[in-house]
């Protein structure tokens, strides 16, 4: 019973095996990909392991405080930012091994030519709020 975050990157992850940008796929291939992702989430809901899934727009801004009484400063987006998150899925599973197994399945979503993308997904574990009593 631990939560893991799967991070999908627009940029920053090592190259996929089937490394063709999505805008060069056929419409059917795009459809098949979306269908796979929806089916995957649905399957996790049914197995009682799904927590959340969200996609992010690629554009964003950097924001920081500029001191009391002043509006925050915004900047960017910076084209040179190396790491760009595309979205995430959060799961609640019994083991790290199960998390890796599921990330592997998600990574095999179909892409160009209907072949699995084999993209790299980042798997991160959540820090829980409090320690167990036995700690």
């Amino acid at each position: 019973m631990a939560k893991y975050l799967f991070l999908k990157h627009y940029r920053g992850a090592p190259a996929s095996v089937n490394d063709v940008p999505m805008d060069q796929w056929t419409p059917d291939e795009v459809q098949a990909h979306i269908q796979y992702m929806n089916d995957f989430a649905k399957r996790l809901q049914e197995s009682g392991e799904f927590v959340d899934s969200q996609a992010l727009a690629p554009d964003g801004a950097w924001v920081r405080s500029d001191g009391e009484g002043k509006p925050p400063v915004t900047d960017g987006p910076f084209a040179e930012t190396k790491d760009l998150i595309a979205g995430w899925m959060i799961i609640d599973v019994d083991s790290y091994e199960r998390a890796v197994e599921l990330a592997g399945e998600l990574s095999a979503a179909p892409g160009a030519g209907g072949k699995p993308i084999h993209e790299w997904l980042e798997v991160r574990s959540f820090l829980t709020a409090a320690p167990k009593f036995t700690d």
């Binding site: 939560k3 809901q45 799904f50 927590v51 609640d92 019994d94 829980t128 409090a130 167990k132 009593f133």
Partner: protein
């Protein structure tokens, strides 16, 4: 039916009746999955109607209401087929007493075919009587996910016959996991685990069940002193012992002593014995570390767990001095969780502040939870300040 308008329903007391009610339905031939749904609905009805008119025989009322609901559910077309096949597999009405039925439910909900998270969820619902929403909130997952987890768990155990004796170890493990989760949402899971352990202890005379109950009580007693108002951790040595719940300690010690007198030692009794020695010390300095190390030796013998060996090394550091603790630690695998934190602590005790600081920083990066990471970071910062103060 006696009317007693305006009485609020004591939910914990009400939920104590659940295993018996569910067992009664299953005994009459109801399939477990549908019976469980029916009992849950009867429970909701009870909470709604009892404040206005609560029955004298609460359990009887719940059984009658749940049974009617079960018949409604099975009459619906979708469930008819399942009912027909289930009732033909009806377990023979044996001479089993109600107490044994309750125990069988514990076994079923902790069945080895279930994953740990499924067993926990099913136990909290079918034995504990918590709603799916409450369980979902406690484990921070969407209600739909928890509903699926529970219904899958029910399907997994649907073919398990309730007349087979189960494994008490798996039941204890499930309760341990529930207790370990502590607070979640509006449900106090630790209190719930204690309630379930009490109920289990009343149905079986296994000394390890008593050991687990004692362990829960003794740890729960410390909870008011364990965290500050801001949620930060207070290590055992720094806790304000006047905040410890003396009533729970007294009960835990009594339960433990009765269990130990049976002379069938197990890991939960040994863990409870260690907790009892801490509870017994008026101040951290008065802790009987020598005896604690002896109990850890028992625990190592019983479990051969590397985590137990790690905790033992820290106890050795208290009993025989930090160098002895470090020597015990050096025999263990450095990749164990909390190895680095223990190493940092023992180095600090040994006066090697420089090394301790570095190790605390490293341990903070490895921490699995926020409260602990904050604690370790604070330790590193405090020692660093001390070092620069000494230097300048």
């Amino acid at each position: 039916m006696a009317a007693a308008a305006g009485d609020a329903v004591d939910e914990a007391q009400l939920r104590d009746l659940i295993p018996g009610v569910l067992a009664a339905l299953v005994h009459r031939g109801a399939d477990f999955a549908t019976a469980e749904d029916a009992v849950q609905e009867a429970l909701i009805r009870a909470v709604e109607t009892w404040p206005n008119q609560h029955p004298d025989d609460r359990k009887g009322w719940l059984i009658a209401t749940a049974w009617r609901r079960f018949l409604d559910l099975t009459r619906s077309d979708s469930a008819r087929h399942r009912r027909e096949t289930q009732v033909s597999n009806e377990p023979p009405p044996g001479p089993t007493a109600a107490v044994d039925d309750t125990l069988q439910l514990y076994f079923l909900c902790a069945h080895p075919s279930l994953t740990a998270s499924s067993a926990v969820a099913l136990t909290l619902r079918a034995v504990g009587g918590l709603t799916t929403r409450q369980i979902a909130q406690a484990y921070l997952v969407p209600e739909a996910t928890m509903a699926q987890r529970i219904s899958r768990a029910k399907r997994t155990v649907s073919d398990v016959r309730l007349d087979q004796p189960g494994d008490l170890r798996t039941v204890l493990k499930v309760l341990y996991l529930v207790f370990n989760e502590g607070y979640g949402g509006d449900v106090d899971l630790a209190a719930e685990a204690i309630r379930l352990a009490r109920q289990l202890a009343a149905t079986t005379d296994d000394p390890e069940v008593a050991g687990l109950l004692a362990l829960f009580l003794l740890h729960h007693a410390r909870r008011p002193a364990r965290t500050r108002a801001d949620g930060s951790l207070v290590p055992l040595a720094d806790q304000d012992r006047s905040l410890w719940r003396r009533d729970l300690i007294a009960e835990g010690v009594t339960v433990l002593q009765a269990a130990l007198a049976r002379d069938r030692l197990g890991e939960y009794q040994a863990q409870a014995a260690i907790a009892a020695l801490h509870a017994d010390a008026q101040s951290a300095d008065e802790t009987d570390w020598v005896q604690i190390v002896e109990w850890y030796d028992e625990l190592v013998r019983l479990t051969d767990s590397p985590i137990v060996r790690l905790n033992r090394a820290v106890a050795v550091g208290e009993a025989d001095g930090p160098q002895a603790g470090l020597a015990a630690l050096a025999e263990l695998d450095p990749t164990l969780p909390r190895y680095t934190a223990s190493d940092a602590y023992l180095h600090e005790r040994a006066g090697d502040i420089d090394t301790a600081t570095k190790l605390y920083v490293e341990a903070a990066a490895q921490a699995q939870n926020l409260a602990e990471r904050n604690h370790l970071t604070l330790k590193a910062a405090t020692l660093r300040q001390r070092l620069s103060g000494e230097g300048g």
